[in-house]
């Protein structure tokens, strides 16, 4: 059995849509409508120790619900989840000792306690021995640079400072599984890079399984070896990024700056020589849109055969474009 295993995971929610205006509110007092929403509709997922998995999906796809079921906060309405052989919901207390959770949107620290106090409290809650706790905190400080505001109450921290403290808090007890919901929200560029490097390192060196959701696809590109796309409560894709690219079928683009006016005849010749579309971008520049999986060699050869060029650039489709295409298809 995998370290983390979800089988046919389902979760429904009951929504109570409100009627409009005062009269509507009064009528809602005496029982309104109820709609059942299927947030998760049979999610299958396996994660092994040391794996880094990015959970992607449009808003409302079921990413956070998945994370909450894995964290033991929500009881699934169907299917099974096991983490290290445990049922996260039924054996919550034992389960959460082994996981670290970060919801970038809300803090898990205590609003009016100083950061240091909050950390002390967490070390006590998890029963981390003092020496081990101090050592871990020093490491986290070296990475996240949180030492400067250890005595500041959490409510007085800036968003970036708070997220860094929350990240440290999620890692303080040495979890085996990290669930990160939007972990880099509010972080500046340098800190983002440091956090990503730290997460990669954590997975590689300590064998921590990392599962993260993010709308910053660079997080996923730089941290995750594997991508799971959730859409309409189901797994729409599971594999590595290059496989996702291949599946979506967006090809590369060769951008050509000729440095001299280009004749339409030249473009026609290039277009005939390669399987792809040629689009003029200006008097002196054009782009060759290649098909999925096509190499750029033939296109480049055809281009230079028509005369010298000033500059040439081969562009991969961006992850954003790939993901957008994947979601578009799911509709």
């Amino acid at each position: 059995m995998a370290f983390l295993e979800a089988r046919g995971l389902q979760r429904t929610f009951v929504l109570r849509p409100r009627r409009r205006g005062v009269l509507g509110a009064v009528r809602d007092l005496f029982g309104g409508e109820r709609t059942v929403v299927r947030a998760l509709d049979g999610v299958d997922l396996e994660v092994e120790p040391g794996q880094t998995v990015g959970l992607l999906g449009p808003n409302g796809a079921g990413k956070s619900t998945t994370v909450k079921c894995l964290a033991g906060i929500l009881e699934p309405t169907g299917g099974t989840v096991r983490v290290a052989g445990r049922d996260p919901f039924r054996e919550r207390q034992a389960h959460v000792r082994e996981i670290g959770v970060l919801f970038g949107q809300r803090t898990q620290l205590w609003w009016d306690l100083a950061v240091q106090e909050a950390f002390d409290l967490l070390l006590a809650v998890y029963g981390v021995p003092e020496a081990a706790g101090r050592e871990r905190l020093a490491r986290l400080d070296a990475l996240l640079g949180i030492g400067a505001f250890m005595r500041v109450p959490v409510r007085e921290l800036s968003l970036g400072q708070r997220v860094r403290c929350d990240l440290a808090a999620a890692l303080l007890h040495g979890p085996r599984l990290l669930l990160l919901d939007e972990p880099t929200i509010g972080l500046d560029v340098t800190t983002r890079l440091r956090v990503r490097a730290f997460l990669r390192d954590l997975a590689a060196r300590e064998g921590v399984a990392v599962l993260l959701t993010s709308h910053d696809l660079a997080d996923v590109e730089q941290v995750c070896e594997r991508v799971v796309v959730i859409d309409h409560g189901k797994v729409a894709f599971d594999g590595d990024l290059s496989a996702m690219r291949a599946r979506v079928g967006l090809g590369r683009v060769v951008l050509v700056e000729a440095g001299r006016p280009v004749a339409d005849a030249d473009l026609a010749v290039v277009g005939a020589a390669v399987p792809g579309r040629v689009v003029r971008r200006s008097e002196t520049a054009f782009a060759v849109h290649l098909g999925a999986g096509e190499g750029a060699g033939a296109a480049v050869a055809a281009v230079v055969s028509r005369g010298p060029v000033a500059d040439l650039h081969v562009q991969e489709p961006s992850t954003e474009e790939v993901v957008a295409a994947l979601w578009e298809r799911g509709r």
Partner: protein
Amino acid sequence: MRPGLAAARLGATHRFTWRLEVVVAALSALAVVVVNASLWIAAADHGPVAGLAKPALGTYVVVAWLVAVAVGGRVEEWVGERFYTGAIASDLVRPMDLHAWALARHLGRSAASMLLTAVPVFAVMGLWFPVALPRHLVTWGLFAVSVSLAAVVGGQIGFLVGLLAFRLGRVTGVAHLKAAAVWLLSGAMIPIFALPVRVQDLVAVLPFQALAHVPAVLFTERVTGPEAFGLLGLQAFWALLLWGACRLGWAWAQRRIVVWGG
């Protein structure tokens, strides 16, 4: 440090955090106690009220209110807020039990309140009101145990009321109802002896007297010896019963938790 102790420390720290709150809490307790004690002492001008002479009556109303305020806490607001805002999500990803955590936190907070509000206000009252300290050393021990049990009862009543936030969304309304019940039925405002007999019968089957009446009668040494232990037993009974109710309520609530959005 053990988690329970850590939670108690957290509760106490919170109580000390806001300087203004410390002052306001003490002043408002003092104001209520001055008014209430004056009323009852005036009532005792023409002889004992419900069998209590002036010093005993004054001490009872002062102690009852101060203990009720200290151990009453605001657990329901704390619990309700956590459900309402979704902060419950962060509680659930920690290896702690919300009921045990809330209770431990409340005990720490109550201890801090006794120290910050009850003791100084009682001392000030001692300057110009007929209030008396217990004559026997053992009474202090009984009183300490009784206040601790009162805090356990108070915290759990609050927790149960807070759980209602699940059904109700907001907890403010029931919190007011609870406060009114504590004021009227615990002995905090009106000594239980002075209540109409019918109401006394009602009070006898409710947990509220464990919050103020029991500590107050022990402090004033109206009840001593084996009977005193009987009263502590009554408090312990309510503490245990409420423990069971809280466990059930919390188990019920956990299955219904929904944390919306993000």
